[in-house]
């Protein structure tokens, strides 16, 4: 363990001329939950979206520096984005299942990769739904439209849909912001469960959430990484004044 799966080295990102991320350097260990916290607009989501290059969909984005995924620089041009996104998947702020059946949602990833065999797809459905705790609830309603599920179930389904692609890193962009407190707790339990098999990076507004689920925490402010350390340390004895002010609620 404790291998670095992601190493960020002097990473900068610009929206046109505006520097949104400034000279970030830190590393993420395999099989951990890493939380990125900070006030709105600090760049934490932008950073998260740099890990699977979702920022490429926005026009006028330019980056400098390196992001190494298992030693390979994924921030450079010419990288295979399809293959990258299958290794580094993402769960979004609002649950966004496709307007298809539960089954078709889960099999989407494998089908995209060219899997056609029904038995393999079926196995993927069961395995993925089991891992997010939905199999028992949904096994008899796989033909149901995914949009008819509750918000929490939809978000779990989105996670299951991602797991069916067999990613190594699961990026979560405020995955609980559309959920009620109880559903939030259950998704957090799921994150702890997930880190046994995957590496989880979660962006959150909710400091208690970061404290509860993460092993390491990074505080971002105005595009800079103020502090990145063991979560316990960040929340008890931070070395920066800004961190202390933020985690104690003095601003943000």
């Amino acid at each position: 363990m404790a291998e670095f799966i992601l190493e960020i080295k002097h990473f900068n990102l610009f929206y046109g001329d505006f520097p949104a991320l400034k000279d970030l350097s830190f590393s993420i260990k395999e099989h951990t939950v890493t939380a990125l916290i900070g006030p709105s607009g600090c760049g934490k989501s932008t950073l998260l979206r740099s890990f699977n290059r979702m920022n490429d969909l926005i026009q006028g984005v330019r980056t400098e520096g390196e992001i190494l995924f298992k030693g390979e620089n994924i921030a450079q041009n010419g990288i295979n984005l399809v293959a990258l996104r299958q290794k580094i998947g993402m769960v979004f702020q609002r649950p966004n299942p496709f307007p298809l059946t539960v089954r078709d949602n889960i099999t989407f990833g494998p089908r995209v990769m060219g899997e056609k065999k029904a038995d393999i797809l079926e196995a993927a459905v069961e395995k993925s739904l089991t891992r997010v705790g939905l199999w028992k609830v949904l096994k008899d309603s796989l033909e149901k439209n995914a949009l008819s599920l509750s918000d929490e179930q939809q978000q779990r389904l989105c996670i299951a849909r991602l797991l069916a692609v067999k990613p190594e890193i699961v990026l979560m962009d405020e995955p609980c912001s559309a959920l009620d407190p109880i559903a939030t707790l259950r998704i957090e339990e799921l994150m702890l469960e997930l880190k046994k098999r995957y590496t989880v990076v979660v962006v959150t507004h909710n400091m208690q959430q970061a404290a509860r689920v993460s092993d390491e925490t990074g505080l971002m402010y105005l595009g800079e990484l103020i502090e990145f350390d063991n979560t316990k340390k960040i929340f008890t004895t931070p070395s920066q004044k800004i961190t202390e002010d933020y985690v104690t609620g003095k601003f943000g």
Binding site: L57, V82, R85, L100, F108, V112
Partner: protein
């Protein structure tokens, strides 16, 4: 408190606008009334079954069967859908999912221009270029179901494209983001997700395109050959319901004239049915 002069004026203006708005509905009502008043007595005399299901159309000799024309209209509409549907849908996929903003800003107005070209020009181009091509390479008279289908397919493109583009644009980007983040390509995202999300709008666009095709007259007269028989191959000439009305109204009188109005009733139901289907699908989309 008594109404002031301004309030009274406001009320009056409101009434006037209401009246003007209703005049368009009123004209629809008048049109329907006239068609039915002129056409129904003939259907009554001939019998609905003989009128719709007989293929013998010899109005001067008292035979009023429009079955061949119904079949012809049906095939021309299907043919137009076969050519215009895939072309229009692919075009709208390209515009919404693949084209850059600059390219889209150039192509979309050009397509709207397509809708502004008079149908007689389409017919003319069909006669001059397409008909000889079909005749020389595929046989038959050239004036045929195939030719009419191709030209009508092009004519329904603006309808199909503009409505399906609207439907695709309305699909939330979160679906596309999710698909991309799962490693899907643009095309996979389009046919596996976006098309499903926009399905009702896409069907609406096809149905309204069919409505456009079934009602088209001028171009069809020029390129379909107007022969009074059921087409047995795509290379056979045919005469649609609309063509028949346009071709014969000039000299028809008496029962013949009534029969043409009765043909109008049939068309009226055709188009009504298509529009109703389109509305139902469009509404289903909104509920979602």
């Amino acid at each position: 408190m008594a109404a002031t002069a301004i309030q009274r004026k406001e009320k009056l203006i409101e009434r006037i606008f209401l009246l003007i708005a209703f005049s368009s509905i009123f004209s629809l009502f008048i049109i329907a009334l006239f068609i039915f008043a002129e056409g129904l007595p003939l259907i009554w005399k001939v019998g609905l079954k003989d009128f719709l299901l007989s293929t013998r159309w010899a109005p001067t000799k008292g035979h009023f069967g429009i079955f061949a024309m119904i079949v012809s209209s049906f095939w021309v509409t299907i043919g137009a859908l076969l050519f215009g549907g895939p072309l229009g849908l692919m075009c709208s996929f390209f515009l919404v999912e693949f084209a850059s903003d600059r390219l889209r800003a150039f192509i979309k107005p050009a397509l709207e221009l397509l809708a502004g070209i008079p149908s007689v020009v389409y017919g003319f181009l069909g006669v001059v270029y397409l008909v000889p091509l079909v005749r020389d390479y595929l046989g038959g008279p050239g004036l045929s179901l195939l030719t009419a289908s191709i030209i009508l397919g092009i004519m329904i493109l603006p309808t199909v494209i503009s409505i399906s583009v609207d439907a695709l644009v309305a699909v939330p980007d979160s679906y596309r983001e999710a698909a991309f983040s799962l490693g899907a390509t643009r095309w996979q995202t389009t046919y596996m997700v976006t098309v499903h999300a926009a399905r009702s709008g896409i069907i609406t666009s096809l149905v309204l395109g069919m409505g456009r095709a079934v009602g088209e007259t001028m171009a069809v007269i020029m390129i379909a050959g107007n022969a009074l028989k059921i087409p047995l191959s795509p290379l056979d000439p045919l005469r649609t319901l609309t063509s028949n009305i346009a071709l014969e109204m000039g000299y028809a009188s008496g029962m013949h004239r009534q029969a043409l109005f009765a043909t109008g009733i049939v068309l009226f139901f055709f188009v009504m049915a298509l529009n109703t289907i389109a509305t139902v699908y469009a509404r289903r989309k909104r509920i979602k």
